[in-house]
Subunit: 238 residues, 2 copies
């Protein structure tokens, strides 16, 4: 069965249409996207005390915001998330609010000078690391500090599974991994619809689609059939 | 086992705190509240083709907004919702966006001059009616057209079960139903924590708590223990 995908260009149009004429707000879509990612973690890596820590690495844009929301839901689901958020955009007040919400939930949010984030990759009770650095609008080159973060994730990926939100960071959205230094996620959570790079996942990797917020006719307009989510699930394993 | 409740006054403080110092936005909380209500409907009244119609009646404030969000998720869950929204506040641009989102999902939204809303109460394929008219900040008297709407719901409540969002409309939030003309919901979806009126539900009625967005220490501060939601559920049957 071939995978339904849309190009990075179509993904950008979908986003613009959802937040333009359709009337969705970023806050709504991000809440549902982050919830999806948390549900995928819950399904794929159930928390078993004391092994219930999740490291969430958030980038400066919307993919990073999805990670911040995901971390909050993970806490509600019984995990102990820690967020590494080295480069805050500052442009969008809402991201500051997402951080405040995490503080309310007593979720640590480490900044760029908290060099000790790597320790969370090495803890025995870390169940997975969430790559919420860059999404479908990423263009190379990968700048600091994310190049170094990816190199750390690569080194530990056999021990600590990587859950990529929408697109594995560093991959070309349409072409997939660019060389052998690219991370190989154990799980990908595609939002709304997979991007072409999802076809280059390891065959043993887990692939979910989340972000359940479009009707059938909208999917068809973009050339794919909508996904058969079950009951109230916000994710579907492909 | 006694029910955990907080007074209408405490509920107002909780809301102010969540949307003030905690940093939540109305859009986030409403998305999760509406999703909870939709999940409760899914659990309590599964859609069976062709019996999959739900009438959602939205009031002018936040309770009405929860109903608008709920209708959208119900459509995604396979129902055919119809919204009756007779009095739009107009003050809050976001409510207009929620209506646009429903139009995107091809969910009919009837205005006050669409007198034919009652037909949906009478259809054989209507599984339930959602009372999203007024929440914990309601004060009497009940004004037109909501007085008449409640009288219609009362007449049909044995045939078409009522799902009340947070507080059954017309009830005193702290004292419960004020007289025998009060509606008797078949299901109540309390948001965050039940209000005292929930103690006056019919013993056979279904009671869910939803709005899973507070940590344990916050609940304790308001004098209740947080609820034991299962896995990724957004609702818990009490």
């Amino acid at each position: 069965m071939s995978l339904k995908v849309v190009s990075s260009k179509a993904a950008a149009s979908i986003d613009q249409e959802l937040m333009g004429p359709v009337g969705f707000t970023l806050q709504q879509l991000m809440e549902l996207a982050g919830l999806s990612a948390a549900e995928a973690v819950l399904k794929q890596y159930p928390a078993k005390t004391p092994k219930n820590q999740v490291l969430v690495i958030s980038g400066p844009g919307n993919n990073g915001g999805d990670g911040l929301v995901c971390a909050r839901h993970l806490k509600l689901f019984g995990y102990e998330p820690v967020v590494y958020y080295p480069k805050r955009s500052g442009r969008e007040e809402f991201y500051g609010q997402l951080v405040k919400q995490l503080e309310f939930f007593e979720v640590p949010v480490l900044g760029k000078d908290d060099g000790n984030w790597v320790q969370y990759l090495k803890h025995d009770n870390t169940v997975c690391v969430i790559d919420a650095m860059f999404g479908f609008s990423f263009h190379p080159p990968m700048r600091a500090p994310f190049d170094e973060i990816l190199s750390e994730l690569k080194q530990s990926e056999k021990k600590v599974p990587i859950v990529a939100v929408d697109v594995p960071s560093g991959w070309d959205v349409d072409q997939g991994p660019t060389d052998s230094s690219a991370i190989q996620p154990d799980t990908l959570v595609s939002l709304t619809v997979p991007k072409p790079c999802a076809q280059f996942l390891n065959p043993e990797a887990n692939h979910y689609v989340g972000g359940r917020f479009i009707p059938k006719h909208f999917a068809q307009k973009y050339g794919f059939e909508s996904f058969g989510y079950k009951s109230g699930d916000q994710i579907l394993k492909l």
